[in-house]
Amino acid sequence: MQIKTFLGAMASTAALATGAYAQSEIQWWHAHSGRLGELVDEIANGFNDSQSDFVVVPSHKGNYSETLNAGIAAFRAGEQPHLLQVFEVGTATMMAAQGATKPVYTLMAESGADWDPDAYIGAVKGYYTTTDGQMLSMPFNSSTPVLWVNRDAFTAAGLDPDMDLSTWQQVGEALDGLKAGGSTCPLTTAWQSWIHLENLSAYHNVPFATQENGFAGLDTELALNGPVQVAHIEAMGQWAKDGKFIYNGRRNEGGANFRAGECALFTESSAGYAGIKSEAAFDFEVRPLPYWDGIDGAPQNTIIGGASLWVMEGHDAAEYEGVAQFLTYLSSPEVQAKWHQDTGYLPVTVAAGDLTREQGFYDANPGTDIAVIQMTANQPTANSKGLRLGGFDQIRGIIDEELEAVWVGDKDAQTALDSAVARGNQLLRRFQQANQ
C-alpha cells in the first residue's frame, strides 16, 4: 500500500515536472572548438530563443575523428545524441550504418516540414545525397580549397603580384621566379590528399575511385593513379626536390608558415580565411585553385570538405519534430549567411549566398566569394560530386604516407600512387566485408 502511494506520488510529480518543463532536450554533438565553438553555441541559442518547445544542447566532443568515435560508442551504449556532426570522409561509414541513422529526407517527410533539398548548392548537396537523389544528412560546414597568395612575397622576389595564376603551368613559372628571387618557401600546402588528389581529380573531371567515386557501390576501387594525378604529383615532387614546394605536414601545419609571411603561395581551404585575416601582416589575396591547362574538361568544379549533421535513430517522434524544426532553422538564409561570413565556410544554400551578396559582404571582403564561384561554376559530374569511400580517413593516412615518399624522393609519383591504390583497396575490401 505504501509502495503504491509512493509510486503514485512519483508519477504525479513526474507529470508535474513534464508540465513545468515541457521543453525536450535535443543533444547536438559537434567538433568545433574555440571561436567556431562559440558560433555553434550562438546558433543553438538563437534557435532556443525562437521557440519554447525544444532546447538544443550543443556539446563539443573533440576533433572530427573523436566526435565520430564518441557517437559510435554512444550508439553502442544506447546513449546516442539526436544530432551528430560527422566530417565528409565519414559519410560512407554513416551511410552504411542503416538502422543507426535516420535519413534527413525521411525525418523531414515525417515531420511535414517545409523543406526543399534543391535549395542547397549542388556540390554540397551531392556529397550527402544518394545516387537516387535522397539527402541523407544535413549539410552544415563546407569549404573548398583555394590558392592563397602573399602579394608582398611576389613583390620582394621581383614578380608582379597581379600575374595570372590560373593554371599550374603559370604557377610553375611563378615558383621559378620566386625561387630565383630568394624565397625560401615559394609554395606550401595543407591537407595534401584532399587538395592535390581528391580535388585535383574532381577539378579535372577524372575519377578518384571507380563506381562514381564510390557513390554507386561498395565494390569501388581507387583510381587515383591515373595520368592526370601522376603528372601532378610528379610536378609537385620535382618542385619539392628543387626547394620550390615545402612540405610542412599532413594537416594544416603549413598555415603557420604562410601566416608568418614565409611562404608565397599556399593551397588551403577557403575556411582558412578567418585565421589568415587575423594574423597575416602582409598583403594577401585569394585566387581560384589552379588547374592544368590542356586537360579536357578542366576546370570542372572543386569538391567540399567539412561536415554534415546526421540524425541518429532511437529517439521519440516528438523529439524528432524538434530536430526537424532545428534543421530548418539552421538552413535558413539568415543563419547560414551569418555562419558563412563569420567563419569562411561556404554558404550551403543558394539563398544564403545571395543574401550575403545583398548585404555587401563580398564587396567589403574581396575574394571571399571565389570559393563559392569555383564550386558552383559547373554542374557536378559523376567525378566531381564528391567521394564515398569506406575507411576513408585511414585511406587518407595511406595517401599521406605515399606522398611523403614522393616529397622526400624515395619513390616516383607512379610507384607511390600505385602503392596507395593497392593499399587503399585492401581497406575498401575490409569495409565492404564489414558492411555487406
Binding site: A96, G391, G397
Partner: protein
C-alpha cells in the same frame, strides 16, 4: 630447512586472495577476453552486424607487409627508449650518489620531468624541434644542419625516442639511486683499499649488486615503450613520416579509431598481448638467472 606456513581449509586463502582476483578479472581478464572474442569477427562500427571470420583477421594482418614492418619499428623504438632512458638514469644516479652537498636539490630537479604526461612531453619536444619555428632546429640551421623530422625518418625516430625517454629518465633515476644507496659502503671501500679504481669497482661490485633494480627497470621500461608512449607518437609524428614511427600500439589506435576496423584492431591487441607476454617470460627465464638478489 624450509619453513612453510599452510592454511588448513581453502576458504580463508581464497577470501584473502579475492580482492586481487576480482580486480584482475574486472580490469584484465574481462577486457582481454573481449578482445580475443572480437578478434574473431569483422563487425561494423555501430555493432549492428558482425561476421565470424575465425582467424581471418590474423591472417589479414600477418600478410600485410606494413604490419610486419611495424614489429621492426617497435623493436627499434622500444630498444632505444629502454637503453637511452636507463643509461642516462644510471649515469645521473652514479653522479648524484657521489654528491655530498646539495644532492637533495639535484634529486628533486631530476625527478620533475616524471610529472609531465607523455602527450605534454611530446608537445614540448615538438615545439623545440618544429622544423620552422623550433628553437633547437633554428640553432641547428645556424650550424648548417637542416632539421626536418617531418620528412626524415631517422630524425623523426630520434625525436620520439628522446621525448619518450626524457620523462622516463626520472623514474629510472629514482630506482637506480635507491639501489646504489642500498649497496653497503664497506664493500666498496674494501675494494678501494685493494686498489680497484672507480670503473673496476662499478663493473665488479656496483653493477652486479644493482642487477635486481636493473632487471626490474628493464621489464617496466619495455612495457612502457610498448604502450605508454602512444601520447608522444600521437602528438609529434602521428606515426610518420611514411610509417617510420608507427609502433604496434599506434597501429592498434589507427586501425581501430581512425579506420573503424574493430576486428582487425582487436586482433592486433591480442598479438600485442602475446608479444609482451613472451618478452616478459623470456626476461624472467633467461635474464633473471643472472640477477643477484
Amino acid at each position: 630447512m624450509e619453513k612453510r606456513v599452510t592454511f588448513k581449509g581453502w576458504l580463508l586463502p581464497v577470501l584473502l586472495l579475492l580482492p586481487q582476483i576480482v580486480v584482475t578479472a574486472v580490469f584484465f581478464f574481462y577486457p582481454a577476453g573481449q578482445a580475443v572474442w572480437q578478434s574473431l569477427f569483422i563487425p561494423d562500427p555501430f555493432g549492428l552486424k558482425s561476421q565470424f571470420v575465425g582467424l581471418g583477421n590474423f591472417q589479414y594482418l600477418l600478410n600485410d607487409p606494413y604490419y610486419r614492418a611495424s614489429f621492426v619499428t617497435t623493436a627499434v623504438f622500444s630498444g632505444l627508449v629502454t637503453v637511452v632512458s636507463m643509461g642516462m638514469a644510471l649515469y645521473l644516479a652514479l653522479l648524484a650518489d657521489r654528491l655530498i652537498k646539495g644532492s637533495g636539490t639535484y634529486r628533486t630537479l631530476l625527478i620533475w620531468p616524471y610529472a609531465v604526461a607523455p602527450a605534454v612531453a611530446g608537445v614540448l619536444w615538438l615545439f623545440m624541434f618544429n622544423t620552422r619555428v623550433g628553437v633547437v632546429s633554428w640553432y641547428l640551421g645556424l650550424l648548417g644542419y637542416d632539421w626536418n623530422h617531418v620528412l626524415n625518418d631517422a630524425e623523426a625516430m630520434g625525436l620520439v625516442v628522446a621525448a619518450s625517454s626524457w620523462g622516463r629518465v626520472s623514474y629510472n633515476f629514482l630506482f637506480f639511486l635507491a639501489g646504489l644507496q642500498a649497496i653497503p659502503r664497506s664493500v666498496i671501500e674494501a675494494a678501494a683499499i685493494d686498489g680497484a679504481h672507480f670503473w673496476t669497482r662499478f663493473r665488479t661490485i656496483v653493477f652486479p649488486l644493482l642487477s635486481p633494480t636493473t632487471f626490474f627497470l628493464l621489464v617496466v621500461n619495455i612495457v612502457y615503450a610498448f604502450f605508454e608512449t602512444f601520447g608522444v607518437i600521437h602528438t609529434i609524428t602521428s606515426g610518420g613520416p611514411q610509417q617510420a614511427t608507427t609502433i604496434l600500439v599506434y597501429k592498434v589506435y589507427k586501425d581501430g579509431f581512425v579506420g573503424q576496423d574493430l576486428g582487425g584492431s582487436a586482433a592486433q591487441s591480442v598479438i600485442l598481448l602475446v608479444v609482451v607476454g613472451i618478452l616478459t617470460v623470456i626476461q624472467f627465464k633467461f635474464i633473471e638467472r643472472r640477477v643477484h638478489y
